[in-house]
């Protein structure tokens, strides 16, 4: 029983589409502002970033339309091949890629550079949705956990080998989706605690932390029922925590690369390097902070215009928002972004097919992770991890991959009234 039903326009989620275009157009204006020069005033000048971005937006729109026209079963049917294809691309890049700014994650096609790591995100999302959405698949099964874990770790490791730490970290965001699909809640808590202790271990000598953990564990044993099992759990957790804390320092010194170390040190205030790693963050904060309540106005942001903020049209695009549109613009942006994420989660929950829902959660997780890391970095709250702000940052690969990621979900959602996927399998 094959259905060849085309989506009716009314079923497309217009709010998501409007938000998407709002972001893309706002992003284009920010890119324009950040590289604006009186000598190149035309926004479609293709020798400038914003001119190229116009082309990318056109391509992305075309691609998005294509996705909306494709039968939604295509994505289900081709999810594994797409996953395999992206993995193969990642391996190919690792072997043949062009090195840009220390990471060998680029391939050049014609005059444009592509970053397959971007495409691995929706490839992996599709594959995870297909696998976890399958019949009789329960996340509580160990086997399921291992397989889905492996599906996430495979692209992650390859991307790490490409020296693209930021993109690799994005794959950790699937934890949100996994949580929805049955990962116990304490994993989220655990992840949070690991992050917290990881940061503390870098700031505070690990000996103090170990003492603190021991004291806390001791106090805990006084408060809970002291049976054998509880004591063992507390002791085990405490020992693991101590081990983790003491390994952080080692990992920091021996595994991280110098530029990563200095980025972290700068963030923690251990290192003042206003020329190097700290310069970006400092200038980023200055640009945002100087925006004030309502900002300096379109094209009036001096910090961006005069190149004080590095990577301003890509990773630090939020600086332009902060400087030119001020607190009002920044808050509006944050709220609209959260609105989009909320909308995606609402859409995901209304799906009748597990595949669609899981994919929707993947989209939200990835977008949220990018948002959190990117904005946190520009605000000086997180170390400088070079990942773009979806829909805003300049760059073809990132715009195309996020468009594909989102539009596949819009396409799936448009067809949400269909019967359960299993019916025709």
């Amino acid at each position: 029983m094959i259905q060849t039903q085309q989506p009716k326009p009314s079923k497309i989620d217009w709010l998501t589409l409007v938000l998407y275009y709002a972001f893309v157009i706002a992003g284009l204006l920010c890119i324009y502002a950040s590289v604006y020069k009186d000598t190149h005033p035309m926004i479609y000048d293709t020798s400038m970033n914003y001119g190229k971005q116009v082309i990318w937006i056109a391509i992305a729109s075309f691609l998005g339309m294509l996705i909306l026209l494709v039968d939604e079963k295509f994505f289900y049917a081709f999810s594994y091949p797409i996953y395999v294809l992206t993995i193969l691309l990642l391996i190919a890049v690792l072997l043949l890629g062009t090195t840009v700014k220390g990471s060998s994650s680029w391939i050049e096609i014609g005059g444009f550079r592509m970053q397959p790591a971007e495409f691995a995100k929706f490839g992996t999302s599709l594959a995870l949705a297909r696998y976890l959405g399958g019949f009789n698949i329960k996340f509580s099964d160990r086997k399921v956990q291992y397989i889905s874990g492996a599906m996430i770790l495979l692209p992650m490791v390859i991307i790490l080998l490409q020296n693209e730490t930021g993109s690799a970290l994005v794959f950790a965001s699937f934890i949100f989706m996994l949580y929805r699909e049955g990962l116990p809640g304490y994993f989220l808590f655990l992840g949070f605690m690991m992050a917290l202790f990881g940061v503390l271990a870098l700031v505070i000598p690990s000996l103090y932390l170990i003492i603190a953990i021991a004291v806390f564990a001791g106090l805990l044993t006084l408060m809970i029922r002291r049976n054998r099992q509880n004591l063992l759990i507390v002791a085990g957790v405490a020992i693991l925590a101590c081990g983790y804390v003491s390994s952080i320092g080692y990992a920091f010194e021996n595994i991280l690369q110098p530029h990563q170390k200095s980025r972290i040190n700068v963030l923690l205030g251990k290192e003042v390097d206003l020329k190097g790693a700290g310069y970006n963050v400092q200038q980023s904060k200055i640009a945002i902070g100087s925006g004030g309540l309502v900002g300096k106005g379109f094209l009036e942001g001096t910090q961006n215009k005069f190149r004080f903020v590095p990577e301003q049209s890509t990773d630090f695009i939020f600086c332009t928002i902060g400087e030119e549109y001020g607190f009002v613009g920044s808050v509006l942006f944050v709220m609209l972004y959260i609105l989009l994420l909320w909308r995606i989660l609402v859409m995901a929950e209304r799906q009748r097919q597990k595949f669609n829902r899981i994919y929707g959660y993947c989209v939200a997780s990835i977008l949220f992770f990018h948002f959190a890391i990117n904005i946190g970095m520009t605000l000086g709250l997180l170390p400088v991890i070079g990942i773009p702000l979806p829909f805003f940052s300049y760059g073809g690969s990132s715009l195309l991959s996020f468009t594909i990621l989102l539009f596949i979900f819009i396409r799936l959602d448009a067809n949400r009234q269909n019967e359960l996927r299993g019916a025709f399998e």
């Binding site: 200038q283 945002i288 100087s290 215009k305 190149r307 004080f308 902060g322 607190f327 989660l345």
Partner: protein, 615 residues
Amino acid sequence: MDSLGKRNVLIAIFVALAIIYIIRLVFLQLVDDSYLRSAQQNVLQEQTIYPARGLIYDRKGELLVYNDAIYDLNVIPEQVKGLDTAMFCKVLGITKDDFIAKFEKMKRSVGYAPYRPGLFEKQLNIPTYAAFQEHLFDFPGFYVNVRTDRKYKFADAAHVMGYIGEVTDRDIEKSAEYYRMGDFIGISGVEKSYEEVLRGQKGVSYVLVDSKNRTQGRYKEGQFDTPAVAGQNIELSIDHQLQALGEELLKNKIGSVVAIEPSTGEILALVASPTYDPNLFVGRERGNNYMKLLRDPSKPLFNRPLAAPYPPGSIFKILMSLTGQQEGVLNPSTSYACHRGYLFVGCHPHSSPLQLRGAIAVSCNAYFCQVYRSVVNNPRYPRVENAYTSFHDHMESFGLGKKLGVDLFGEGGGLLPTSKYYDKIYGRYRWQALTTISLGIGQGELGITPLQMANATAAVANRGYWITPHIVKTIDGKKNPNPEYNNKHWTTIDTSYFPIVIEGMHDVVMAGTARIAQIPGIEICGKTGTAQNPHGKDHSVFFAFAPKDNPKIAIAVIVENAGFGATWAAPIASLMMEQYLTGKHDTRPALLDRMLKGNLTHKNDTNATTQTIKN
């Protein structure tokens, strides 16, 4: 937890993060305004626009002083981030210690602020400047400011024009911080006395710079900028050709020449010897050159014509002739006999007795001692001290014993003792004319500067008045605005007493002691002097004016330790008057040659012998 609950947990996490970020934005954008300041400091650079300093011309429109570009390295300390000190020092050619020292010096200077541009290294030479421009991107916070320094077209008139140098902390304080460290200010001469005219008004320009410190345009279309106002040009009263000749003639001699236009008080030449090349005070070596000149035992920095007090000698005889007539104790036919002197004052052989005109012509010491005695012991006054005060006031009315108020710094007042002065030495009522008799011939407790001598000569030439000598003729084409320089200072002598004295001075040149000073076709009135010098050989003195009727130039020449006035001072004065009045000075080549070649700086010079008598 049901599935919607899980979704809500995720939404809660999203919202929580959004709230954290918004709080952060509140702090960055609303609470903490340091970021706004930093942003302005990032892009706004306050640039001082230095106006061109006014040019200086001589009275004939000859350019004497102009400006030349120099390159100062400035720094905004706050913007210096991650400087590669080693490379920086290499480019500038300094050591690391210099680097630290310069920064320390800057921090101690008045008006220092980390956000304010300060001077780091002054006057880069051209190759360093070029090298530095190439590396400018590597040195955030540093930039080169183009300024102008002075260039002196001729190596003369140094004491007139003076020089400029860097401001001191005191200058900065006094100027209410108009000046900044490293700014130039006039330190002597016209550069100092007309500093505010010459310097103009500094301007400020706010420019936007990008992250590489490259100028990106003006801030707000320049609405906060203040344009610089160029300094005004000055025309000196100096005649450069005359000045140059004077310096040439005084080469290898120690002395002064001051020439004044009697009708206006304009100084035509102000020659000091030894002097120095004003260009020594230009450029990086300024400081070192200054120290060298300061330590030079011949004192080239000493402004002799303005400040050096000499025994006035014969100028006093002229003034005494006028005073005597005014006081009614002398008339043209008064005659005194000369017995080779008067008391302990000697005299040289000449016919005797003489009347006033003849006494001036031969410069009879005895005659003027008699005049002095009759002035001070004048029975018209109840006491000697009253008569002396009257005498003193006459002298003072010629500008003696006080500063004249020339528009140059470093003027001396000379010395003209009051009656109180003698009271102190001898006790009240315990002195009279004979006690102070040497005053009659201009010796004793007297000091007169060459400027005062020239001014008194001008007063004689004017038949009774003088105008305060000044060095600046016009400012930006307008007559020197100082009203003082239009005032006639009348002496206390009636005009009617002058002709006989002037005739005597004419005789001096025509038939008296200064025949060597004659210039065909020009009637010169002069008087030689041989000022007794207690420290060594006598000074050769000559003062004169010409032409006799309608005088155009009054001149005083003093050549130290040179003996008779007629030997050195009179020929020099004559050559200079000829130059000024006819535009030529080479009609008497032998005389010119002797003057130019004369070298009186050697101690055992035999050219002139020590004289104890006065002519």
